[in-house]
């Protein structure tokens, strides 16, 4: 592929617009590190998005956005696949076989469409509503656990096999929030007895150098999560927004309490 050799010989600069607490941003940072690609990073204030971000991602106005040779690539899952396409000589994130690729994409969509919002719902609620959300998370984790135990990913160290791949990056960059949310809400999400394989995978993932380099320190995440939870519960309760969070929620608070998961995604507290 001409383009790929071009990239290897005359690398155009890579710039990533992101947010430090956004797991979608972490996915791209991790992928770039796994592939050994140098990049410039620009932190975006999601409460006051830069003109550059709005220009580069006019459709969704979100981070992350990867800029390569002046061209913008939004959406983490699109970016990850772009990295494989544009740098085929680096370690691939997606598997080679078409069926395995379909499986990786399926579970990645599951993570973003089902598991992530369910975890967000736990974080944004209390009482009975939260209990229902927790049950949903457990149902979702059970499906993944089953795949690890005797399904598509049986016997593997990582979802990608011996090495981390696409699905590990997507699931992993977000799963660190589980422990943080457990701490902040006092709710058990990943019981090592109920989900031993998922638990083991997460520990292996978090031990990797590139992952430790990418995921923010736990105390920063805890502080951030506490602030967001405080504010989300304040909004859901109908009391006026505290206004002390620097993130977008103050601006996106307009939708009524029916949308806690959406609010969670907007402020990039997601999985």
């Amino acid at each position: 592929m001409e383009k790929a050799t071009e990239n290897a010989k005359n690398p155009a600069p890579l710039k990533l617009l992101g947010s430090w607490a956004s797991s979608y941003t972490h996915r791209v940072q991790l992928a770039l590190r796994l592939k050994g690609l140098e990049f410039e990073y620009k932190e975006e204030d999601l409460g006051s998005k830069s003109e550059e971000l709005l220009r580069l991602n006019p459709v969704h106005k979100k981070v992350p956005v990867l800029v390569h040779g002046g061209r913008a690539l939004p959406e983490s899952v699109v970016i990850l696949q772009y990295l494989d396409d544009a740098w085929p000589e680096t370690r691939p994130l997606l598997p080679a076989d078409a069926f395995d690729r379909a499986l990786a994409r399926f579970w990645c969509h599951f993570a973003d469409d089902k598991l992530g919002p369910a975890v967000g719902a736990v974080f944004a609620s209390t009482g009975e509503e939260q209990e229902a959300a927790v049950r949903q998370v457990h149902e979702n984790l059970a499906l993944l656990e089953a795949e690890l135990r005797d399904g598509a990913f049986r016997g593997r160290r990582f979802f990608g096999g011996d090495e981390v791949g696409f699905l590990d990056v997507v699931l992993g960059c977000g799963s660190y929030w589980l422990a943080v949310f457990e701490e902040v809400t006092g709710v058990r999400l990943v019981d090592a007895d109920a989900f031993p394989l998922f638990h083991a995978w997460l520990r292996e993932f978090e031990a990797l150098d590139e992952v430790r380099e990418t995921i923010p320190a736990v105390d920063r995440l805890l502080e951030y999560a506490r602030g967001v939870r405080h504010m989300l519960l304040g909004l859901a309760g109908g009391a006026g927004a505290g206004g002390d969070a620097t993130e977008a929620p103050a601006a996106t608070a307009a939708p009524p309490a029916a949308a806690p998961p959406a609010a969670a995604t907007d402020i990039a507290v997601d999985i």
């Binding site: 696949q81 069926f99 690729r101």
Partner: protein, 223 residues
């Protein structure tokens, strides 16, 4: 019997599903023979539940006994597993990324907003109408003056969006949106796609879609 792996391609589908139609169009574009298996969604078959245990939804493509789920994943699978015939995704990495971005946009926006157009009334319906016009205009912007979303060739994004053109009539009648008026380029693109064999064969006639939705509305008590 349970251990036997059927050879070839089967598509578990539901006649009016735009998601299923994406797969049918892709299979025809790649000239791949397959067995179409209409599913009763009110009484899901053991085959469907076994093939898609996580979501229990159509479409599901079964290839030599192995299921692939989710329409855009199926279309990509078809493109990658049968790569000798003409490609639905472009070869240039950036063009591929753009194709995936717009297919993802269509997935995130069109069906959900379309559903709210016919399922709601009053203020929520007004909101849905506003959003749908915005979505269509955004897509028209992405199309530009090109014959197809991917350029000169019918491709991935066209496959992703074309089944929804059969729903324009329904949007018009229930949602009072004229695609012809709001997005003439998109309407022209729809007509152009409609001339392809794969599209002609697999899209539901717009009147049938409308009848189907009208029946659902009655069932849900939405008049």
């Amino acid at each position: 019997m349970a251990g036997e792996k059927r050879k070839g391609l089967q598509l578990l589908d539901f006649w009016v599903s735009p998601f299923g139609q994406r797969c049918r169009i892709a299979l025809d574009e790649k000239a791949l023979p397959y067995e179409y298996l209409e599913q009763d969604l009110g009484n899901k078959s053991e085959l469907l539940i076994r093939s898609n245990p996580v979501h229990k939804k159509i479409p599901v493509l079964v290839h030599d006994g192995r299921p692939v789920c989710e329409s855009l994943i199926i279309v990509q699978y078809i493109d990658e597993a049968f790569s000798s015939s003409s490609s639905l995704l472009p070869s240039d990495p950036y063009a591929r990324a753009q194709a995936r971005f717009w297919a993802d946009y269509i997935d995130k926006k069109v069906y959900d907003c379309g559903t709210r157009l016919w399922k709601t009334k009053g203020e929520p319906q007004q909101q849905a109408r506003k959003e749908m016009v915005e979505i269509l205009k955004t897509l028209e912007g992405a199309l530009g003056d090109k014959p197809y979303f991917g350029g000169d060739e019918f491709g991935f994004v066209d496959v992703a969006f074309v089944p929804f053109t059969a729903w324009f009539l329904t949007y018009e009648r229930f949602g009072e949106i004229s695609v012809e008026k709001e997005c003439p380029k998109l309407a022209a693109w729809a007509k152009r796609c409609g001339e392809r064999e794969s599209v002609k064969k697999n899209l539901s006639p717009p009147e049938k879609v409308y009848e189907f939705i009208a029946t659902l509305k009655k069932k849900f008590g939405i008049e």
